[in-house]
């Protein structure tokens, strides 16, 4: 039984950052109908930016906590700038082109980012500084590391802030409206191009924060890490009903739990088979996601 709770804790941890990444897929799809295949690589860049900050500041002595905070802030701002910059340079000129052009551009961006980081930093895995010092709390026989606690708490805070922004502010409401009807949004005086860039910015900031957390949790990063994690997060976005933010958050946690339990009770070699099996099943039987469409069709 203690195994079960350990897997549960691990699964919630993985789910927390998968949700953060999945939100970026979901939000961007909502406003431009693009499956942004470069999003996983944005997450990777966040991990590398955080890595640079941590190794520059150093994590010895009393510097650990400030260094982690700085890494998360710098990592997410860096990815925000990169994500919005790419959207401005590559995606917005293609908004009026066929959907396929955007999609192929996204694959190109994905390759450019991962290969670019490889050229800059080398192909070897990097060991993340162990800023949280392997500290842990024992609840019975269940081990909860400080890294896990920080990761879950921080993810929940970020998602709560996002939710408040999207539901309570005029700009957030405009973002939801944009996903429903771009022309009608323009007619309210909404600068649609700018709001699209802001959506990329927010999604990238969340992915960047997730990248730093990933590094702190798994303690190893590489230029190619964005691909698989990105696909898992994308699965979560599809499962939650792409464009549906609460659904995406919940599905991210669900995929994290599936990953953890599959690794624990079956074999970690099977986790991706199971996760992508779920993706195929959802696409085949419930293409609008487990939680269904939230969008009401016009009467």
């Amino acid at each position: 039984m203690s195994d079960f709770f350990q897997y549960l804790v691990n699964g919630l941890t993985i789910g927390a950052f998968l949700s953060l990444i999945a939100l970026g897929y979901s939000m961007v799809y909502g406003v431009v109908r693009l499956i942004n295949f470069a999003h996983g690589d944005i997450f990777m860049i966040g991990a590398f930016a955080g890595f640079t900050v941590l190794t520059t500041i150093g994590v010895t002595g009393g510097m650990a906590i400030p260094a982690v905070l700085a890494a998360v802030v710098v990592g997410s701002l860096a990815t925000g700038v990169v994500g919005a910059g790419i959207a401005r340079v590559v995606y917005t000129p293609l908004l009026k082109a066929r959907q396929l052009s955007l999609f192929i551009a996204a694959i190109g961006v994905s390759l450019a980012l991962s290969e670019g980081v490889k050229l800059l930093t080398g192909a070897r895995f990097k060991s993340y500084p162990d800023a949280l010092d392997g500290g842990q709390i024992m609840a019975g026989s269940v081990r909860v590391s400080y890294a896990q606690l920080v990761l879950v708490v921080f993810s929940v805070v970020l998602m709560a802030v996002l939710w408040l922004f999207v539901t309570r502010t005029v700009t957030g409401t405009a973002m939801r409206a944009l996903a429903m009807d771009r022309d009608a949004a323009r007619l309210q005086g909404i600068n649609v191009e700018r709001l699209i860039l802001m959506t990329f910015l927010i999604g990238s900031v969340l992915a960047g924060a997730a990248g730093v957390m990933y590094g702190l949790y798994y303690t190893q990063i590489s230029f190619g890490m964005g691909f698989l994690i990105g696909l898992r997060a994308f699965t979560a976005a599809v499962l939650g009903g792409i464009g549906n933010l609460p659904g995406t958050m919940a599905a991210g946690v669900l995929i994290g739990l599936i990953q953890s339990f599959a690794a624990g009770y079956i074999s970690s070699r099977w986790t991706d088979v199971i996760i992508f099996g779920v993706l195929i099943a959802v696409l085949a039987f419930r293409p609008s996601g487990l939680f269904g469409e939230r969008v009401v069709e016009r009467a």
């Binding site: 409206a177 323009r186 007619l187 909404i190 600068n191 009401v296 016009r298």
Partner: protein
Amino acid sequence: MSLLEVSELTSRHGQIEALSGISFDVGSGEIVALLGSNGAGKTTTLRTITGLHRAKSGRIVFDGEDLSRLGAHRIVALGLGHVPEGRRVFPALTVAENLLLGGYLKRRERHVINERREEIYETFPRLGERRSQLAGLLSGGEQQMLAIGRALMHRPRLLALDEPTMGLAPQTARQVLEIIRRIRDGGTTILIVEQNAHQALRLADRAYVLESGRIVLSGPAAELAADPRVKAAYLGGDPAPRTSTG
């Protein structure tokens, strides 16, 4: 003096010329109707004026400003509101949220948005009753009122309405037209596109008749209503099927 002046406007949809050099004007305080059958170019005219569609050539001057190079969001900010064809309310947002976005230009002054929203609820009590309902669940007439209310939130000096009575029951359609008259009496200039020439001519001061992207007739509404050509084409016999128009 004209508030809106359109001259020699041409516009294309791909290879097809949708507007072949139309000119018309709307004076301050007027209700002007654009009439014509399906595909005559009425919707394209409105979409080009409000910046959703790029003009190929011609000039659109609103209160002294040339609109032809401006994006739609800038045109709205100049005081030109557009209630689009098919209402286009945001279906998964509540009535209150739809109106909130109508006040988007005032987003840094939430109290202004809230005050204006209360005024809309007074003008349209139905919207007040349903403020927390999703717009997609409203009836057609209620959605039309919401679309009009949403446009009024940004206090336009000229309100362009595209087929506001389309798909509505006759009684609801009359209510909507009465609301439009009241909006004009409140000082807002109206440019209305209608397939239902009969009702539009009773409402409007002046009208233009579009056919295949050209203006073929124009004049005071009462004169046009009596014109045998208009009677034959638009007022007699069965009304044309009221589907989506071009």
